[in-house]
Symmetry: D2
Subunit: 290 residues, 4 copies
């Protein structure tokens, strides 16, 4: 009976880069957290500690910073592509490079209602995401977002589900629906105005959440995915992970009060978790995208 | 040698209430996390387990929900006052009630550029805060915010500091200044349009951060505090805690690149922490506000 | 061009159960966080809001609590099996159930050096994990741990790696090696003394980390995986994710001090992330284990 | 109406130092996170950006690392004293220095049941704490711990409390009592075997929690404080902050099951928070300890 090394990858995770672009009068900033994972001929490092093929993760970090200087960072999909291509192109042993980037938004501060040239306020917890995977021949681009939180105070129902001996949930025709959205969508094209496509997809997700009268969070998920696919034909497939952030109607009857869907307790755990993929029939093969 | 009970308080922390107000066509929501702390005649509970004076924390939680139904929540300062007054007014043993409320912002979703009547997207990590303290006779109102993050990409210097044998920091006339802001300000008036006052104070903090050319984060802190005091005469005193979120210029010279204040590494720890109070000369005594 | 629903699953995440077993004189406690994900015939819920097949996540939560009463929880692998089998067995629409359980350890408190019958102190951040996947015909058991943190103050080197224009890292023959361990291993048997097997695997991981002179964290990873496989023949495969928690030697030379591998700065981000699988040559197919 | 600077302090927070002591055959490690806050003549920095008195926080960080080399770190109370005395002693403008240190525990790994000379496993989330405050003339030592979590599965009651219209809680003569402990105690002596004193106090807290039949968490708090004071006469005063981590008995009656204090749902929020001080009658004045 032998023991062998299986799939493996390594890299530098969460290099936090802030790039300032100094224009004539105004500055722009880009705030990204870059994680790199390389796969390839790294067996010897595992089995005998031979690192002759192992690009140090410290070098990977340096490369992020150097690349941010050599050209503008641009859209995170582009920056990911540049980095991923560098590693598969520059090192024979690297067969696959995956670069995952989270971007934090910053808004320009207004002073006296005029935009300040170099002062910014951080936007919320939501992050824009790009995950770029390259081999020596191909590239796959996944974009997405995390930590977007949405809520409808009505327009959501849940009923008609099977009941067994452990079912106590009451059917409802009016509930609060709140969800934390994690979305990842795969593009079928290698080039695009990534920023506009991101905005279009994000808007479509949010609008579908709002507009769809919901009989189940699953139905909302499908509508959101469909919305994104319709908004951008370049999206082949979207994967959504929606937490169901329960808002329980508080029983106020012991206090002689009625609660007509007004007072809710927002619970932390447990929570529902609804995960699904919405895809085009003719979506190209995902390859190594995921 | 005897042993005795000293200062003590207790209460229910972090009751997460979401209140929906259902208008004719549109809904409004209020998302608050309420923490209550009561001080008073609770020695017997500590020393003999006699709970005859102890308002259960579960009752405190129920009260939050019931009060949210009985009247509109309103501004968090008002909701805090209603709750705090209830506990000192309704229970002889409660000498002091402190109600701390964090409010999370939600923005209305636009669908087809029209505001949706009952769908919302959560705004960032920043929280509006109110801390209301009541005795049977008096009340003190503190407002503030947490998790506001600001950054200037230039317009910040740091030099002229003492050097000792452990000093290696280079003086700089151009650095990135980034800070996480925690602010608490004490009002000298019992009634006010709390929402407008909050917005005015917040704007003043942000504008002062942006507009002040900074020779030290301490100087920025003072300017921010001064800005808030000037914006609202009802603010007697403001306490600011500013983390100095270091953005280190990456040394790109090993790669043959110059770094003219463009590429920064955003560090997590350690960080500077600058804390200070800015007050009016004629500020009334703080009493139990803090 | 059509749009279709792809892979999907849903369930209740992070139901936090504490089960007290009340013996004659002493109590035992089990503290677990249970997450359930069901896959199957749920298309109608997505596409038309028809929930007639959707076992509510609330029912799933209830089932966790009820099952904890009906029989002893036992080892988490067993509890996961009972739950997963219930869902695939009891509901025709459920084709696959995955139950993931995290267990938090508690140690009995000693009073006067005698074990107290019903008082406990929580053990560290480390968690024992089981992930059980069932179809109507089969079951797969994965066990593991998270948040185990290990450190060697010497016995670790890193050199012989390729240098390019972005390499600045110095080779080292003596460094601190610290890692946060996430391990998941797949069993090839359906029954076992899971508790003993877990302890054996965990010990093997830790001993291999300690005993292996390390030329790369990759080499340590392989040794750890090999150790676990050798410790328990029932383990077919192990997946390890090891963060490289960098401890940087502080340059004390500006202070006229030498730093002979004594004073380190423990950095948070970025960090290395080394991931790999170690498997038996004759491991059975993984099926739906992962 | 003038505006003025009030209380202020600044410093470097959370410098994470790992100190390796390399003995003949075995190594020891010390893992501490050091936060420094200085108060004094820093008005000019705030009001005019004059930093001539401002010891840079970067220098403070360097000092932590240099001091860790110059002498053994020793107990964290001692390390805090050395650092705090350095700042008030070396800089005329520094009137008060407060050094707060969190220590993370590491246990030696056993290989083949023999202790390994230089490999360690991190102990849980619990942290030992010291807070040392120095002026040019005096010093105050506070010690403590954070993130200690305790649970009793019985031996806890809660009844006899006042009922009002918002009370729904049922009285109980048997509940689970679980608490997250934050403790800070002030010593009345300037020198001590700090490590032994810490262990004695910690043990006393834990034993009192276990041994005390509890009619209220307040009563348990007092017993814990009293226990610590009795264990070490050098402790003048102890401040305890105990979260009441609610474990709710799950209602299993809908499933035809009885729940005889066996199955609990461990809730996250809201939680009770019980805070209190236990002190000696003859405790010396606290001065600037807190």
């Amino acid at each position: 009976m032998g023991i062998r090394l299986g799939d493996n990858q390594y890299g530098k995770a969460e290099t936090h880069l802030v790039r300032v672009t100094r224009g004539d009068r105004t500055h722009d900033i880009k705030d990204v957290v870059v994680s790199i994972a390389l796969a390839g001929d790294f067996d010897a490092s595992h089995t005998s500690g031979d690192n002759s093929m192992v690009v140090p993760t410290d070098t990977q970090k340096n490369t992020v910073f150097a690349f941010a200087k050599e050209q503008p960072v641009g859209e995170i999909e582009e920056f990911g592509l540049r980095l991923a291509r560098h590693f598969v192109g520059g090192f024979a042993a690297v067969h696959r490079a995956r670069v995952s980037i989270e971007e934090h938004g910053w808004a320009r501060i207004n002073v006296g209602s005029r935009p300040h040239p170099h002062a910014f306020v951080r936007e919320g917890a939501e992050k824009r995401v790009a995950i770029v995977t390259c081999t020596k021949e191909s590239a796959w681009i996944v974009a997405g977002l995390s930590d977007l939180v949405l809520l409808k105070s009505t327009g959501s129902e849940f009923w008609g589900y099977p009941k067994d001996r452990y079912t106590t949930l009451e059917e409802t025709h009016d509930r609060v629906l709140a969800t934390g959205v994690v979305a990842r969508w795969r593009y079928s094209v290698p080039e695009l105005d990534w920023g506009v496509a991101f905005t279009d997809a994000r808007n479509a997700l949010i609008e579908a959440f709002a507009a769809k009268h919901s009989l189940a969070l699953q139905q909302t998920l499908y509508a959101m995915g469909e919305g994104a696919l319709k908004a951008r034909t370049e999206i082949a497939e979207i994967r959504l992970s929606l937490s169901n952030k329960h808002h329980f109607l508080v029983d106020l009857s012991p206090f002689g009060l009625e609660n007509d869907h007004e007072v809710f307790y927002a619970a932390d755990r447990p929570y529902g978790l609804i995960e699904g993929t919405v895809a085009r029939d003719d979506a190209p093969e995902p390859g190594l995208a995921w």
